[in-house]
């Protein structure tokens, strides 16, 4: 973490599917595996419920990073949800990268209900990345900033 970022408290939104990743986050909690408080989790039934609109909305409203977590491919509670989500997010992230938004601000991780450790490690590394990128200025609505 660089010095000039000392004051920077990023806003990070994590979309977690109810069946795997949200449970993984619960397990991280009950195992007392800490990660920065900058991460706030929104529960969705499945990663396929995450609309690109939600992700852009988060950035619009001042999020510095958005991460989506779902069941591992093959393990989706709804059989196929994360497969669709994977394609959607791949394309969306590719587009954001294409228009010059730092790729590190978006991430997808598959975290199972048993992977409390992975959840915590993922969040730690993601937050670290956001600190290194600093404030999101390319993809926010300036009306939020005043």
């Amino acid at each position: 973490m660089s010095l000039e970022n000392k004051e920077f408290k990023p806003k990070i939104v994590a979309f977690c599917c109810n069946w795997c990743s949200y449970a993984g986050a619960d397990l991280a909690g009950s195992s007392r595996l800490s990660y920065p408080a900058d991460v706030k989790i929104i529960r969705v039934p499945c990663s396929c419920r995450v609309n690109p609109m939600f992700i852009l909305r988060a950035f619009e409203k001042g999020a510095d990073g958005v991460i989506m977590c779902g069941c591992h491919p093959g393990d989706c509670h709804y059989s196929t949800g994360n497969y669709y989500a994977r394609r959607r997010m791949t394309l969306l992230f590719s587009m954001l990268d294409y228009i010059g938004v730092e790729n590190g601000r978006t991430r997808v991780e598959w975290v199972s209900a048993a992977e409390g450790v992975k959840f915590s490690e993922t969040m730690n590394s993601f937050v670290e990345k956001i600190y290194s990128l600093g404030e999101n200025v390319r993809l926010g609505d300036l009306r939020c900033k005043n």
């Binding site: 806003k11 939104v13 109810n18 949200y22 449970a23 986050a25 619960d26 397990l27 991280a28 909690g29 009950s30 007392r32 595996l33 800490s34 990660y35 408080a37 706030k40 989790i41 929104i42 529960r43 969705v44 039934p45 499945c46 396929c48 419920r49 995450v50 609309n51 690109p52 609109m53 939600f54 909305r57 988060a58 409203k61 001042g62 999020a63 093959g74 393990d75 989706c76 509670h77 709804y78 059989s79 196929t80 949800g81 669709y84 959607r88 048993a114 915590s120 939020c144």
Partner: protein
Amino acid sequence: MQRIGVFVCHCGSNIAATVDVKKVAEMALMEPGVVHSEDYQYMCSEAGQAKIAAAIHEKGLTGVVVCSCSPRMHETTFRKAAERAGLNPYMVEIANIREHCSWIHKDIEEGTKKAVILMRAAVAKVNLNAPLQAGESRVTKRALVIGGGIAGIQTALDIADAGYEVDIVEKTPSIGGRMSQLDKTFPTLDCSACILTPKMVEASAHEKIKIYTYSEVEKVSGFVGDFMVDIRKKARSVDMDKCTGCGVCQEKCPSKKAPSEFNRGLNTRSAIYTPFAQAIPNVPVIDREACIKFKTGKCGLCSKVCQAGAIDYDQQDEIITEKYGAIVVATGFDTINLDKYDEYAYSQSKDVITSLELERVMNAAGPTHGHLERLSDGKAPKEIVFIQCVGSRCSDDRGKPYCSKICCMYTAKHAMLIRDKYPDVNVTVFYIDVRTPGKNFDEFYRRAVEQYGVNYIKGQVGKVIPQPDGKLLVQGSDLLDNRQILKEADMVVLATAIEPNPDVRKIATMLTASIDTNNFLTEAHAKLRPVESPTAGIFLSGVCQGPKDIPETVAQAGAAAVKAIGLLAKDKLLTNPCTAQSDILLCNGCSTCENVCPYGAITYEDKEVNDHGIRETRRVAVVNNALCQGCGACTVACPSGAMDLQGFSNRQIIAEVDAICR
């Protein structure tokens, strides 16, 4: 505008130690819609729930936010409490300030700040919540079991004994499955047929059980409690009602060159056949590809010799459509194809066989009438080598990554049986690990080693080379002694990996039951719901869910039956109200949502709409709420936003995003 009450739980010190709960309650009052807030030691306790009920009554709350542990823990508790107090249960949302906050943050200021934000997000969501009503759907009191092996038979018997109708659909001409092919069973060495056939007879005689053999499931529609299934009864060419099972046709049939499926192709059978003597039903089928009558039009011998006049060459496939409340998958397994393991010379030598083939060789009704002999020359073997983990625990794509679980035990069984019956035969087993976790399993294995003198070598076989004199040169290594081993053997037996029946993928797709990378059906929860598929109304029995031996299979079959009975015992089912809903005024009728729905819950109908005064007929999406499981895939596929998910609506999630980013 909602009237929201916010209830902040201390959870003893679990939350209160790192979150200033009073502050959270105080901040809640600043949020739009919040008219009441309080904190309490244990919100989930009787007293805590009473506080929620009291506030609902006194303050006329229309929404409740509980800041507490994970919703996976107590969401149902609080929703029920609210419902008892007269509030729609879906007006309750949980802010997870324990697992997602107090337990992972040490700094009280940081923890409190985050808890406030999580509370805000929940309040923002509740502001947009709408009361939801769980719907009802009826239950057809009949179960379908797909697969007539020991798993399917046991499940069917258990369900039938509870008083419900059960149909078994079996692909082959007889029920019995893999177990009917086995000679003896571990760890007690009792005869497989002796314990299986009574069950087969019981099933066929049971008044509640109907068996469709030589049949396949063709199409499944509907949903939990109300499945509609098409079953294809393949043409048997024999009238089941007339046939007496005398067997004369099979004796007289001139075409006897078809490989016997039951004997794994080690010998042949007639074109009109029952797979094995104890087959149920004891009615043969005509293999139309092998039958001379069907191939050339001449012959018809079986028809001539049949006293009962049961032969019917004109019989057609028949489609039977039936309704079921529950479906149990018991499709079992097969051994993997060994093409990729040619180093073991399976395709080059008749004396390299799989363990399942050995079962047939050892069986009195098998191709050698139970005599242990080389299939190439009929000579008695003196040296037999068993190779373990052929295709199991494999790290590359030649085999399977998992342990097939049964091989260690049946190899010990084979070794023991051979040494018992033919003490002059040397038996060597190459293994990676010997896994014996089961009741009396390790004792069994130790008997093989200690009492029967089976030679276990920890190490893998690199190659089996057929020699000109008919012997097999086995090149292996002994890892414990760290040396290479060259061994001449008369027979090599491969403990071939098992895999789910190849048909299961097709069946899983029909059932929208999820399947893992190895084609095993996925259970709803690996620990807590091991015999249910995540798809409601679909249950899993036997090896289709994962490798297991007979006792485990029977236990799981019973468990699956209990789950199915639990479902069939209900008259009505409550459906999940968090389902997708289509706004017909916004719907384009493009079918995109239909294409991503894993449940076939979306159909398209031509509907009369009134779009701000314009009346017209439009093709619009209609969601069947009983089928919809609420994943939300359709909501994102829908470009116009016509499709939305109740309980997790676009606006609700956006409100949460906004609250968090505020």
